[in-house]
Amino acid sequence: MRFRGFTASIALLAVLFTCSCTQSGSDFASKYESKSLPNIKAPRVKTEVLENGMRLYLLEDHTLPVVKVGVVTKAGGIYDPDDEVGLALLAGMLMRSGGAGGMSPEQFDRALDELGAKLGSSIGNEMGTASLEVLSGDLEDGLHLLFDMLFKPTFDEHRLSVAKHKVLESLRRQDDDPESFAGYKFKQMVYGKESPWARRPDRASLAKIDRADIVDFHKKYFRTDNILLTVAGDFKERELIDAVKMLTKGAPKGEIDFPKVEPVKLEFKSEFEGIPRPLSQSFIRMGHLSIKRHNPEKYALFLGDDVLGASGFMSRLVKDVRTKRGLAYAIWSTVSIGTDYGIFEIGVNTKASNAEHVIGMVKGHLERIAVEGDITKDELDLAKQSILARLIFQFDSPFKVVNQEARFHFYGYPKDYWRIYRDRIAATTLEEVKAAAKKYLKPDDLEVLIVGPKVSFPKEL
């Protein structure tokens, strides 16, 4: 079964890329690779805005007797009061686990399991999400439960206490795994421990949160006009729209007064923190603040980051530190962009005795790209080509397609943003990449974190 869709014009892309396949490649590759990019047929997503303001993104696909539903809502931990950190997180958990629609938690869980359906809900820093996966024969019942959860949660007291225990236990266990511990500590290093983007709940902050706080939270954010609903799979558009209209009858709507969030201060400093742990490896994180989501230089910065360490085995960090020298299994870099400043981060785990050596090597690579502007046209073309060639995978599942469109809306991009993304990536010049790397990557202002044996902490950096 094929999507109903239209063929995107990719003539421009074809022109750009027939001349771009110039990698040193062996005869072997040129004999078998197809030079043309795949034809992207963007499926036509049905978008509907209900009278109550809820936005629907629908895509029928009758391949399997299954329907997937997604919910996106603007709410999150960045809005938590300073003394109630964890409020959004708990609310997200409790919506799912605390019963709904007049049912006790046990009844609600049972009703879902009887359908064999999967239902989840969670709230992150700035976005709440929920999802339902259900056999199409049970769609109506599944939707009932989903909307009960969204608009009529019970917030059972006992389950609230369970949720608090679960959160604390998860945090303890996250700290046991050096990989995730280093990730969270590094975020706090860059943003500051109290930053809305990096803080995390603890026993005291959770103790302050009671059921009434969660009820208030829910009342404030869960309004029909703050919800994007995505549906893909074996259903009928018209019927689904009617069902949603009925299920949201009487649900609240109206403007939300979002609390002001302390902006991130754009500061850079060279700093080292070592957290001693008796491990056989050092878990190293290096980096600093990066850019915001709508910065037009992001395409150039992404491409530069790909050359450095974000493109796996094509990147310089992997080729040198892993493949050529065998010093690490995991080494990577990434530029995240955010509503506020994101993070540029390099991660590597290596035998403790190699830590200092590897840090020097990584810094060297960063300097060559950021300071010396040493990036070649071939490397840039390779990075572009692989991004554009795999863009088709943004469309390989109907659920991905509807979710992508909803997220474009959420983050303030135009509907067909993928075309802009594609064209900008294709049009980025080597000079732009060098300029962005120079401007936004700062080898002299790196914050460096090591979780590992004390002997691996460098004497000077």
Partner: protein
């Protein structure tokens, strides 16, 4: 809404006719063929987007290794990405003799490094020689070319993994790169160059440090295997023992490859927007020329099973508890009964263990059941894995689990519970068919491990047949103390 309901009633009515059968039968969608050399292929045409997932899965994994050479299956998987005589080289004629020399020196150096009374002088002389050879070889090498070729042509999830049972190479690409994928994969699998072997061995040692040494779950898995099996193929973890990895040579990997990487020991699967006839043409050209050889036999040594033990280990992390029971694997039909038991105990928040341990008694943060640990080629373990809440007694948790299992064995399971669980398992199977990559891997797994992908297609039916008496009988026979191994990990 009324129209909506009407349609649903129609669907349900039709669907209800045969024991709630699902309106999708995988058997109608799979085409199969076998190349002359014995390599089996499965193709599912699914045109949601002009892409495909390609999988080549081999019936070889950690279970096929010898003690002393553990980790070689996984080590070879890494080597497949190093290219062939045609891939990853600028001049094979010049590179080859240097690789041969590296193989000789590497074997000597490895045996020196792993022996207790190694001569310092000789070792460092060989190390220097190795470094020089490496430099010369590098002149002729194109680093990571396999990755680069596939990624610049749109590969989305290019990777591989090794388990106790199998080794899998997979990638998703735009459909117009099917031939490229097939050709590159055939090179990786049939004609490995073993270049950069000793560097990659160091990479794998780092991988082991992250995945086992410094990882609480990895460490527990290793201990559990050693505690459940006295000997035999499932008694060590896939990545292998540190001292074994350090001692691996090109010769070991070459020998392992020659024995196990034969066409009749592998299965290819393509799922995506491709016509089966095109797949057949391309695959025949790419994989058909490699000679037929007899598939290697399963390891002669059987698993020596240990039961009734209670093992405690220390690790600097919050505690975890693994409770495992020895059980048979497919084609034994009891496998389906264990699927039902696992769902009954652990699938969903109304499952017995989740309800009791997490919500009622607040003893645990999470509980997880697996019916195929650590693999499914041989009789295996039914595993219950609990992450306790801080301060809760592990003894109490163990008792709570036992209480639920006792109910299974005495009172048994109600029709209502059974109905729910059948539905859950059936739905999960349907959800698992979504996405080219997931379906391709599932088909490959059933065909490789059990020799019949139809077992997957028939799974919903097989689950429907499990009744309360089966559950009661199997629970009583297998979920016993004598059959059980417990590993407790505490600080």
């Amino acid at each position: 809404m009324r129209g909506f309901r009407k349609i649903l009633i129609l669907i349900i009515a039709v669907a209800l006719l045969p024991t709630e059968a699902i309106a999708y039968d995988l058997k109608d969608h799979v085409e199969e063929f076998t190349l002359k050399n014995g390599m089996r292929w499965l193709v599912v045409r699914r045109g949601q987007a002009p892409v495909f997932t390609g999988v080549v899965m081999l019936r070889v994994g950690g279970a096929d290794e010898e003690r002393g050479k553990t980790g070689v299956a996984h080590m070879f998987e890494h080597m497949a990405f190093k290219g062939s005589a045609k891939l990853g080289t600028k001049d094979w004629e010049k590179e080859k003799p240097i690789l041969d020399e590296i193989e000789r020196v590497g074997a000597k150096l490895t045996s020196l490094e792993t022996s207790k009374d190694a001569g310092e002088e000789e070792t460092s002389r060989l190390r220097e020689k190795m470094a020089r050879l490496r430099k010369v070889a590098a002149q002729y090498q194109v680093r990571n070319e396999v990755w680069e070729i596939l990624m610049r042509n749109g590969a989305a999830d290019l990777n591989a993994f090794t388990s106790k049972d199998i080794t899998t190479y997979h990638a998703s690409l735009p459909v117009n790169q099917l031939e490229l994928w097939a050709r590159v994969t055939a090179e990786m699998i049939f004609d490995p160059s073993f270049r950069e072997f000793y560097l990659e061995r160091a990479v794998v040692e780092e991988e082991r440090r992250t995945a086992v040494e410094n990882n609480p779950a990895g460490a527990l898995v290793e201990k559990l295997l050693a505690s459940a099996y006295s000997s035999g193929p499932y008694s060590w973890s896939t990545i292998g023992f540190e001292e074994d990895i350090e001692g691996l040579t090109i010769g070991d990997a070459r020998e392992f490859h020659a024995k196990h990487y034969v066409p009749s020991n592998m299965v290819g699967v393509i799922v995506g927007d491709v016509s089966p006839s095109r797949v057949r043409r391309i695959v025949k050209r790419a994989f058909g020329s490699f000679p037929a050889e007899e598939a290697p036999a399963d390891p002669r040594r059987k698993n020596g099973t240990l039961g009734g033990s209670y093992v405690r280990m220390r690790f600097d992390a919050e505690p975890s508890l693994a409770i495992a029971y020895h059980k048979p694997t497919l084609p034994d039909k009891k496998e389906y009964v264990f699927d039902v038991i696992a769902a009954l105990l652990c699938d969903g928040r109304s499952s017995w263990l989740e309800k009791k341990l997490i919500y009622e008694e607040r003893l645990a943060k999470s509980v997880y059941c697996s019916v195929g640990f650590p693999g499914s080629r041989f009789d295996n373990l039914f595993l219950i894995w609990v992450e306790p809440i801080k301060g809760k007694s592990l003894g109490r948790i163990r008792d709570a689990v036992e209480e639920e299992l006792a109910i299974l064995k005495t009172r048994g399971v109600s029709e209502e519970d059974l109905k729910r669980v059948r539905k859950q398992v059936t739905a999960s199977i349907m959800f698992a068919l979504d996405g080219n990559a997931k379906l391709a891997e599932a088909l490959a797994r059933f065909e490789t491990i059990f020799g019949d992908w139809r077992l997957l297609a028939n799974y919903p039916k097989s689950i429907q047949r499990v009744d309360a008496e089966d559950v009661n009988k199997v629970a009583s026979e297998y979920l016993t103390v004598a059959n059980r191994v417990i590993v407790e990990r505490t600080r």
